[in-house]
C-alpha cells in the first residue's frame, strides 16, 4: 500500500519536475537559425570543397597518390627545354605541363590527406559548402588551365621532342651500331687477315724449309 501511494506520488511529481524543465526552456532563445538567410560563421580550418591553384601546381602527382578514394586524376606532359613555365610562389621550378587535373568531388571524402603532401601548397580546402549540382558530371571539377588546342600542342611538342630524341637516339644508336659494325668488320677483317698471315707464314715456313 505504501509502495502504491509512493508510485502514484512519484509519477505525478516527476512529471511536474519534467514539465518545469521544459517550461524553463520555453523562454530560452532558439539555437537554430534560418539557414539560407542566416549562416553560421565557418571555422578557420574548415574542410569543404577542394580547390587547386594551378599557378602553383607542378604536377607532382603526390596528392593523387595520397588520396584514399582516388578522386584526383592528373596527367602531365614534359615541357620543352626551351619553354619557360615559370616558378611557383615558393620558388619551385615547373617542368611539367599539367594537361589534366580532375577532382571528382562526388567521390571526395574530405579527409584532407591530399593537402598535406603538396610541396607548393597549391591544393587546399575552401569554406564553400554549397555546391550541389543536378548532373553528377558537373561535380567532376577540371582544374587544368590549358585549352584543348594547347593540350594537343603540348602533346605534339612532347611527341616531337620525343621523336627528335628518338631520332637522335636512333641516329646515335645507328652511328654506334655502324661504328660497332665497322669495328666488328675491322676486327673480323683483322681476324681474317691474321690467320691468313698465319697460314701464309705456315705456308711460307714449309716453303722456307
Amino acid at each position: 500500500m505504501k509502495q502504491y501511494l509512493k508510485n502514484s506520488f512519484d509519477g505525478i511529481w516527476t512529471i511536474l519536475v519534467g514539465m518545469k524543465v521544459t517550461f524553463k526552456h520555453l523562454f530560452k532563445p532558439a539555437v537554430t537559425i534560418q539557414y539560407p538567410d542566416v549562416k553560421l560563421p565557418m571555422a578557420d580550418r574548415v574542410r569543404n570543397r577542394l580547390y587547386v591553384n594551378m599557378d602553383d601546381c607542378i604536377g607532382c602527382d603526390q596528392c593523387a597518390r595520397a588520396c584514399p578514394v582516388n578522386c584526383i586524376t592528373i596527367d602531365t606532359v614534359k615541357s620543352l627545354p626551351t619553354e619557360d613555365l615559370g616558378k611557383t610562389s615558393n620558388g619551385k621550378k615547373k617542368v611539367l605541363w599539367v594537361t589534366k587535373f580532375d577532382i571528382d568531388i562526388a567521390k571526395c571524402c574530405y579527409c584532407q590527406l591530399c593537402v598535406f603532401p603538396c610541396p607548393t601548397e597549391c591544393i587546399y580546402m575552401t569554406d564553400v559548402y554549397e555546391f550541389s549540382e543536378f548532373e553528377r558530371e558537373d561535380l567532376n571539377y577540371k582544374f587544368a588551365t590549358l585549352t584543348e588546342s594547347e593540350i594537343v600542342e603540348k602533346n605534339a611538342n612532347f611527341e616531337k621532342m620525343q621523336a627528335e630524341k628518338e631520332a637522335k637516339k636512333a641516329a646515335a644508336a645507328k652511328a654506334k651500331a655502324e661504328e660497332l659494325a665497322k669495328k666488328k668488320a675491322e676486327e673480323e677483317a683483322k681476324a681474317k687477315e691474321e690467320p691468313k698471315t698465319d697460314n701464309a707464314d705456315n705456308k711460307e715456313q714449309p716453303d722456307k724449309e
Binding site: G18, K28, A30, V31
Partner: protein, 356 residues
C-alpha cells in the same frame, strides 16, 4: 441557433444541416489548423528551436500549406488492403470525433444540441472512434497497423471506465447529465467551478475541494489516453510501430486521421472545461453585464470557452513534449490499478459528501 436558422430559411432540413455544420466549419477545422501550428511552435520553442518560419509571419500559414499539399497528394491504396473498410475507416474516425462536438456548449447562445443527456451521449459516441481505428488497422493488412489498432482499442475502452467514473461523481454532485446545465450551475466566479468543489455552500465546498481536484486530474489523465496523446500514444508510437494504425494511409485520408486527432484533443479539453472549469462562464464576471451591453455576453462566453479549451490543449502539448511513453502493459496498469481505484474511492467520497 436552430430556431434562428429556421426563421431565416424556413426549412427544417436546411436549418438543421447548417446548424450541424456550423461547429465543423466555424470551429473545429480552423481549430485543428491552429492546433497543429500551436503544437509545432510550442514544441519548437520548448526544444530551443524556431519551428515553422517560412509560410507567413512566423509560419502561421504553415498548416494551410500542409493541408494543401496533402490534398494534392496521391491517394495510395495498397493492393492487399480491404478496400471498403480501408476507405471507410478515416471517415468513421473523423465522424466519431466530430460527433462529440454536437453536445458541447460553446456559449450560452450556441449549442449544437442541448440534449439533456449530453455527457452520456458524448461518452457513448466517442466509442465510434475505436471502431474506426480497428477498421483502419485491420484493413491496412499491415502488421504494424494491426498491432497499433489492437493497442488502441484496448486502451480507449479501458480508459473509458475511469472517465465514466469521474463523470459520474460530478453528475452526482450537480444532479444533471446536460453539459449546458452544468455550465449554468458554475456561473459567476471561478470559485463556483466544479474543479473547486462546485457551487455548494462554504463548508461542503471546502470538503469537496480536494476530491474534485483529484477527479479533475484523473479525468485529464484518462482523457489524454483516450485521444492517444503522450504519454499514452502507444497506438501510434512512432519509434515502435512506425505510425500505428495509420501507417498505410496517405494524402487526404491521412489528413482526416490527423485532423480527427487534433479535433479530439480539443473535444476532450472542451468536455473537461464544461465539466470542471465552468464551461463557457467567465471566471471574473462579464463585461457585457458591467457596461450593460446584453448581446456581448455570448461572444464573451465563446471567448472564455475557447481560452480555457486551448489552455488545456496547451497543457496536453506541454506534456507530450516532456514525457516518454508508457508500455502497453504499464498503460493498463495505470488504468486498472491506479486510476480506477482512485476514481472509485473518489466517487464514493463525493457521493457521501453530497449527501450532507
Amino acid at each position: 441557433m436552430y430556431e434562428l436558422l429556421y426563421d431565416i430559411f424556413g426549412s427544417e432540413i436546411i436549418a438543421m444541416i447548417i446548424a450541424a455544420c456550423m461547429p465543423l466549419f466555424l470551429f473545429i477545422l480552423p481549430f485543428a489548423l491552429i492546433a497543429v501550428l500551436l503544437e509545432r511552435k510550442v514544441s519548437a520553442h520548448m526544444q530551443d528551436r524556431l519551428g515553422p518560419m517560412r509560410v507567413g509571419y512566423h509560419g502561421i500559414l504553415q498548416t494551410i500549406a500542409d493541408i494543401l499539399k496533402l490534398i494534392q497528394k496521391e491517394d495510395i491504396v495498397a493492393d492487399t488492403t480491404d478496400k471498403k473498410l480501408f476507405n471507410m475507416a478515416p471517415v468513421l474516425v473523423f465522424a466519431g470525433s466530430y460527433a462529440v462536438f454536437a453536445a458541447i456548449p460553446f456559449s450560452g447562445a450556441f449549442i449544437g444540441s442541448a440534449a439533456d443527456v449530453g455527457i452520456f451521449f458524448i461518452i457513448a459516441v466517442s466509442s465510434i472512434v475505436v471502431a474506426g481505428i480497428l477498421m483502419a488497422g485491420w484493413a491496412s493488412n499491415n502488421k504494424y497497423s494491426l498491432l497499433g489498432a489492437m493497442r488502441s482499442a484496448a486502451q480507449i475502452i479501458s480508459y473509458e471506465i475511469p472517465t465514466a467514473l469521474v463523470v459520474l461523481s460530478i453528475v452526482m454532485l450537480t444532479g444533471t447529465l446536460s453539459l449546458n446545465t452544468m455550465s449554468i450551475q458554475q456561473t459567476a466566479y471561478f470559485w463556483n467551478w466544479n474543479l473547486f468543489g462546485g457551487a455548494a455552500d462554504g463548508f461542503v465546498q471546502l470538503l469537496l475541494l480536494p476530491f474534485t481536484v483529484v477527479a479533475f486530474v484523473i479525468f485529464y489523465i484518462s482523457s489524454l489516453a483516450e485521444v492517444n496523446r503522450t504519454p499514452f500514444d502507444i497506438p501510434e508510437a512512432e519509434s515502435e510501430l512506425v505510425a500505428g494504425y495509420h501507417t498505410e494511409y496517405s494524402g487526404m485520408k491521412f489528413a482526416m486521421f490527423f485532423l480527427a486527432e487534433y479535433a479530439n484533443m480539443f473535444a476532450v479539453s472542451a468536455i473537461a472545461v464544461a465539466i470542471f472549469l465552468g464551461g463557457y462562464q467567465s471566471p471574473l464576471g462579464y463585461l457585457g453585464n458591467t457596461i450593460g451591453v446584453e448581446w456581448l455576453i455570448p461572444y464573451e462566453q465563446l471567448f472564455w470557452f475557447t481560452v480555457k479549451g486551448v489552455g488545456l490543449v496547451l497543457v496536453q502539448i506541454w506534456l507530450r513534449w516532456t514525457l516518454p511513453r508508457l508500455r502497453v502493459d504499464q498503460l493498463m496498469t495505470v488504468c486498472w490499478k491506479y486510476l480506477i481505484p482512485y476514481a472509485f474511492v473518489n466517487l464514493i467520497i463525493i457521493g457521501l459528501i453530497s449527501l450532507i
